[in-house]
């Protein structure tokens, strides 16, 4: 990580941990190390309860880390240091999972709030996000449907035109057509301005075409982090006879069904394995799923043996320098 200068990363975690409920509370996130280069569309994936929302709350500066540090554009946020909180706030946009809004405000009031409180506000962009939902400007927020509220919350976050846009489960309440259109607006604007986007989903396939970087969380740990292409290049789906020795490479997942063995190998030989073996480049969802299953298995195993969690295989990360 030291080989790259800090400002190349929008978000960077070093030994990051967060616990709730004081010094004895459970860890929601721990031992997290990753870096998201600026300009990336990073998918934050993982099952419910993996720590995604905690990570978003930290990155949105809604709470301080309990240990380690989180750097936003190189500016560190630590348990006792505040960093350049106020300066950073203008550069970060966040739509939380529960989409809080003032219920007594109208749609127009809500947009006006965005305009009044953000110097970089882009009314046209926010209205483009809204128009997809055909929202009446004088409708009360409290009377909107879940999907419409989501849309308004997203308009507020996107209209701010932040350099780092944090969207926690933005698509959950939206119908497929709206999802597609929203992602179109979001991605084209991100492409225009070089915005870094962290977008989460518990549905692995939903963001497959959208992200070029992934951060896979499981039980509060980073299981996989890096550029999608680099990660896919570093993995191979391999299958062959079960009685043969496994081809070289670290097995993320290895399963034997009958006389066939299949699995996902990390850092396999550059050359394809010999004849009975076949291999292919995994799809992103296959890669994520294999890592999640591997993480869950490792978790269960550790729970059985009572081994300390640090004995688990280190998470896979790739340094994406570009």
């Amino acid at each position: 990580m030291e080989k790259l200068t800090d400002d190349q990363f929008a978000v960077q975690a070093v030994g990051l941990g967060k616990r709730f409920g004081g010094a004895t509370g459970p860890w929601a996130l721990r031992h997290c190390d990753f870096a998201v280069p600026t300009g990336r569309i990073c998918g934050v994936m993982g099952p419910n309860g993996a720590g995604k929302s905690t990570l978003f709350a930290l990155a949105a500066m809604l709470c301080a880390p309990s240990e380690g540090e989180l750097r936003l554009f190189g500016s560190p946020l630590t348990p006792d240091g505040r960093g350049d909180g106020d300066g950073l706030r203008a550069r970060i946009g966040f739509a939380a999972q529960d989409k809080p809004l003032y219920r007594s405000f109208t749609v127009a009031d809500t947009l006006r709030m965005g305009r009044e409180l953000n110097p970089s506000w882009n009314q046209a962009l926010a209205e483009r996000v809204l128009r997809l939902a055909e929202l009446k400007q004088d409708a009360k927020v409290g009377s909107l449907s879940g999907g419409q509220r989501s849309r308004l919350a997203l308009a507020l976050a996107i209209g701010k035109q932040p350099e780092l846009l944090l969207l926690d489960e933005p698509l959950a309440d939206l119908d497929p057509l709206v999802r597609h259109d929203l992602l179109g607006v979001l991605l084209s604007d991100a492409a225009d301005r070089g915005t870094t986007v962290l977008i989460s989903s518990h549905t692995l396939t939903e963001l497959e075409e959208v992200v070029d970087h992934v951060l896979l969380l499981h039980s509060g740990r980073v299981r996989l982090a890096g550029g999608v292409d680099e990660l896919l290049d570093a993995h191979r789906l391999v299958s062959g006879p079960a009685d043969l020795e496994r081809p070289p490479g670290e097995a993320v997942e290895w399963r034997v069904t009958g006389r066939r063995a299949t699995g996902l190998l990390h850092h396999p030989d550059p050359a394809p394995p010999p004849a009975p073996w076949t291999q292919e480049r995994p799809r992103l969802d296959e890669l994520l799923l294999a890592h999640l299953r591997g993480a869950a298995a490792g978790h269960a195993q550790n729970a059985d043996t009572g081994a300390p969690t640090t004995d688990r295989p280190s998470p896979v990360t790739s340094e994406a320098a570009s």
Binding site: H180, L187, A191, E209
Partner: protein, 139 residues
């Protein structure tokens, strides 16, 4: 202007689909030299895919010498892939049409014909084989 239709379930990486559809359009003459490709932004907005995916496809097309970016203006088609032989009134197409008619006459349905064509394509365009004058091309 070309509009990309991306199939998420095809298993073909998205950027390759963009490359293939552009090449297809160049082959069929839908895109001609001097035509402007949609901007990456436009493609992203319509297809909701990652901007880098589109840029990667455009770089690939650029590397193949098919398109070139003109700063501030957009990406433009440099050369066509359309071949006179493949045109609507070309001799190859006429031959193929005649062959398909014969195959139908012999009782093959659409799937049979497609499978047969695919198999011959696989055989003749297999890795390592260079297109060249085949001895039985005229037979």
């Amino acid at each position: 202007m070309i509009e990309y239709r991306l199939d998420r379930r095809s298993g073909v990486p998205t950027y390759q689909q963009i490359v293939q559809q552009t090449e297809q359009a160049l082959r069929l003459g839908v895109l001609r030299p001097g035509d402007k490709l949609p901007t990456a932004r436009e493609v992203v907005e319509l297809t909701a895919v990652n901007p880098n995916t589109v840029l990667k496809a455009y770089r690939e097309l650029e590397r193949a010498g098919l398109v070139a970016p003109r700063p501030g203006l957009g990406t433009f088609v440099l050369r066509s892939l359309a071949r006179p032989e493949a045109a609507e009134d070309g001799p190859l197409r006429a031959e193929l049409t005649a062959w398909v008619d014969r195959a139908r006459g012999a009782g093959l349905d659409r799937e049979d014909v497609a499978a047969l064509v695919a198999s011959v394509l696989d055989q003749r365009f297999a890795t390592g084989l260079r297109p060249g004058p085949a001895p039985d091309a005229t037979g």
